[in-house]
Amino acid sequence: MTPLRIAGGRVYDPANGIDGDVRDICIDDGRIVADVPSSAPRLDARGMVVMPGGVDMHCHVASGSVNVARRLLPEDHAQHPALAPVLDDLATIPRSGSAGLVPTTFTTGYRYAGLGYTTVFDAAVAPLMARSAHAQLDDTPIVDGGFFVLLGNDDYLLRQIDAGERERAREYAAWLLGASGAYAIKAVNPGGIELWKRGSRERTELDQALGSSRVTPRAILETLADSAIALGLPHPLHIHCNNLGLPDNASTTLATMAALEGRRAHFTHLQFHSYGTSGDGAWRSAAREVIEYVNAHPSLSGDVGQVMLGPAVTLTADAPVEYLLHRSSGRKWANVDIELETGCGVVPHEYKERNAVAALQWAIGLELFLLSSDPWRVVLSTDHPNGGSFMSYPALIRLLMDRAHRDEQIKRVEPKLLAGSTLADGIAREYTLGEIAIITRAGPAKLLGLRDKGHLGVGADADVTVYVPDADAEKMFATTRYVVKGGTLVVEEGQLRRAPAGRRLHVRPSFDAAVTADIEHHFNQYSTVRFANYPVGDLRDASVPLAPSGAR
């Protein structure tokens, strides 16, 4: 691969303490290097901003449930056609698609790259459907990709917890990560999806028994959080708390955080879990309580899950939430219960600025960002497509960087609706470019344990984005002048030129082989898929190395 020098740009590389210095970034053989010969090809980045490639640590772009959503929404695709790009490379077939709320696979890769993102994780894949996720990621070009595998309602796991077999539960998680080709463990509404399948319509509390008193959401979370640590996984347990979207769910969120005291854990789309009630039962923001807890507990991290006003699609493994949304909004609803594992629900939605709940959700997300004390631990997401499309990240960045613009937007929302939110009192904070680089690149890469991503130090993957500065941050981040991915220049003068395949990021922890006999026995009794057919097999890309147990 040809060496390349990105010359004279203002570099933001917070992981290496670089905050706007003018310097060259040199690339050779797919990695950042200290220097390249003066004869090497050169990109003139003078006056431009240079950052590591973006890392989206939580989105829904490549799974069976994403396809359920795509299929449900032909009317949205029809409004957002996407032509195939004109690519320089004859070996690659450029593909057209749809670029709406749930874009098609090829278009997803092209659009992420167009925004300067080079690594993307699908946040929720049922292990039974892992092959489908891998196939869709194979069709998502340019970005390196991976996914988190759902374990929070897994029948075999729950049996081990019931039997007091926490070690066997850990070995099962290790086996399952490799069998599905996943990157991390995800828990969605632990225990709550199983209860939905059993007919429950109630809230799920942390100590609620699922049949046996030993099997509770608390026990599931402890087991999985401990497993992630013991296995040396690069990313800790990724948690979608119980009672998402319900009034006064902040108490559940805080109780869950307290339950995992001292352990590393990542709490996803915090906005959807930060609702309180005021004395008269009205919704209010509990963002301050939630973010202050995260601020004070350094082992915890989160992503915001910002709501962007306008149309969205809710798509989640948290099937009971979707049923409730369908009943309250009347929008069409797709539900698929997934055997022995989890669920999936899809309901199209709109966050209307005149709607009390939507306006408050929008405000709560902003509060979480603006009151966060550590950008390394509270990173940017919209839970695409649940809170809004990833294509809205530039607009969100502008809201964080530009107080005057933000205050304009706040004025458009009915002030009464924001009562109870600190946003109404005015929050002066403006994110700096360096902080944006943290919450969209350096922070997610670090939280994911991706040693070679999110920074531009020597040895890092050569994933580099060059933006043209603009006083309007949305304009600045909406288009890229250059994007380098793995050393290949994919965006040139703002045009997508090349679309090489990305790498699959996955882990393959070792596990006690003796446990597979028991897993196979369970398969033989209850599964409709043969044990031998379940693992996805070897993936083309080598797995990410793991830390020695407990070292992280």
Binding site: G64, V66, N67, R70, R71, L72, L73, P74, H77, A78, P81, A82, L83, A84, L90, I93, R95, S96, G97, S98, G100, V102, T104, T105, F106, L128, M129, R131, S132, A135, Q136, D139, D155, W196, K197, R198, G199, Y323, H326, R327, K332, W333, A334, N335, V336, D337, I338, E339, L340, V346, V347, Q525, Y526, S527, T528, V529, R530, A532, N533, G537
Partner: protein, 429 residues
């Protein structure tokens, strides 16, 4: 312990059940046994012997020559169609979709000619469903709505429900109530606990009446008790049984009923009943599909274009043109000048294959040479995905399963279509 020559855990695509527990014995280059396979599976596997000809207008040529001629023909077409027939893997389907995109062709599969009503109903209204193992492990009340299980899905009852034990139905069949409703003459399940036959003219009314009773807070109300007619009679009988379930499975056939004329609105009505039941208890409505990885084609098209069938790339991006399958297929013949058909032509409805009688066709798939389709033909015989080539296929509930190659020695469909795609890319850049 496996004896030599037997390959275990092979996936069968004889129907949408996609049983993956087949044990294939290969002896002297032939499949001699498909252990666990039903009659459809035995027929699907066959003996594994397929022709291996490449032909242009019936004349034998080399594979390279046929591939080159296929690419030139497609690249030169003004109104091309790419059609995914059954019995190809998702990997093969993806190569076909890439060609359609490059050529700005129409892209379709057998889905539009068989289950378009079911697809459209789901898109317009949504659906409440589950994977088949959920039915096996939870369903304590199963309503089979006019499914010819014995002929079309022979192992459904023994692999999924009602026979097997499940996590929440530990006594298997004894833990469940099985209801069978036949619409017209179709025979669903002789061994049901309750069997009813209804007049096809009453199908929608019966489902609607059922929905009304299920939705009502007072299911014993006098209003319902008084409503006259066969549809209400049936609904009054069935509703209490359904409402007594902890997890109700509504199992129906998405494929056309060849014996009885049925209402195309039945999918809306079945879906609505499933949603209504979810207000009172839990329910999953399960649609059964025919064999050959039909759901795989839907999934590949959906993830790549946004639409599960009837895609038109004519403007350089996918547009959706859902239609009533068979009628459009007849028009198809006049709309295309070149058709690329990928898959097993013998598995196509005849109304579809005869639609191309005046079209220049390129057929890639098993036994392509035995059924040349158009007035000018290029046929390339390949092995069968799932017998001669591995890959991925989808069960009717969209669970992806591995396909295994149990025999070697035949050109693969995926490699052949990919070679054509590479050539077309060079010719059309």
């Amino acid at each position: 312990m496996t004896a030599p020559g037997i390959i275990e855990n092979v996936t069968c695509l004889g129907c949408g059940c996609a049983c993956d527990d087949i044990g294939i014995t290969v002896r002297d280059g032939r499949i001699t046994e498909a252990r666990n396979a039903c009659a459809l599976g035995v027929e699907w596997f066959g003996d594994g012997q397929v022709p291996a000809r490449s032909c242009i207008d019936g004349r034998d040529v080399s594979l390279d020559e046929a591939v080159g001629e296929a690419a030139r023909t497609l690249a030169g077409a003004s109104r091309p169609l790419v059609y995914l027939a059954p019995d190809v893997s998702c990997e093969t389907q993806r190569e076909g979709a890439a060609i359609a995109d490059m050529l700005r062709a129409r892209l379709d599969s057998v889905t539009s000619s068989t289950v378009a009503g079911f697809v459209l109903s789901g898109q317009e209204r949504g659906y409440a469903s589950a994977t088949l193992g959920e039915i096996r492990n939870r369903a304590d009340v199963i309503l089979f709505w006019s499914v010819d299980l014995e002929r079309r899905y022979p192992r459904f009852t023994s692999r999924y429900a009602p026979d097997p034990i499940g996590v929440h139905v530990p006594d298997g069949r004894r833990s469940r109530t099985v209801i069978s409703v036949d619409v017209g003459a179709a025979v669903t399940l002789a061994a049901a606990d309750h069997r009813t036959t209804i007049d096809p003219a009453h199908e929608l009314a019966t489902l609607t009446a059922l929905q009304a009773i299920v939705r009502s807070p007072d299911t014993g109300s006098a209003t319902f008790a008084r409503s006259p007619g066969a549809a209400w009679d049936t609904a009054r009988d069935l509703a209490p049984m359904l409402l007594s379930g902890r997890y109700v499975a509504l199992v129906y056939d998405a494929e056309p009923d060849e014996r009885t004329a049925r209402s195309p609105q039945r999918f809306d009505a079945l879906g609505a009943l499933g949603r209504a039941l979810n207000e009172r208890t839990r329910c999953a409505a399960i649609a059964l599909r025919g064999g050959g990885n039909r759901s795989g084609a839907d999934s590949v098209l959906t993830s790549q274009t946004g639409y599960p069938m009837t895609v038109n790339f004519g403007r350089g991006y996918p547009r959706y043109g859902p239609h009533d399958g068979l009628a459009a297929a007849a028009r198809d013949g006049n709309r295309s000048d070149v058709a690329l058909v990928v898959g097993n032509v013998a598995a196509l409805p005849s109304a579809v294959s005869t639609a191309w009688s005046r079209v220049h066709t390129v057929t890639i798939g098993p036994r392509a040479s035995e059924s040349p389709l158009g007035d000018r033909t290029i046929t390339i015989d390949t092995g069968m995905d799932g017998i001669h080539t591995g890959g991925t296929a989808f069960r009717t509930d969209d669970v992806p399963l591995p396909l295994r190659a149990v025999m070697a020695g035949f050109p693969s469909a995926v490699d052949t279509v990919r070679s054509i795609a590479s050539l077309v890319r060079r010719m059309t850049r």
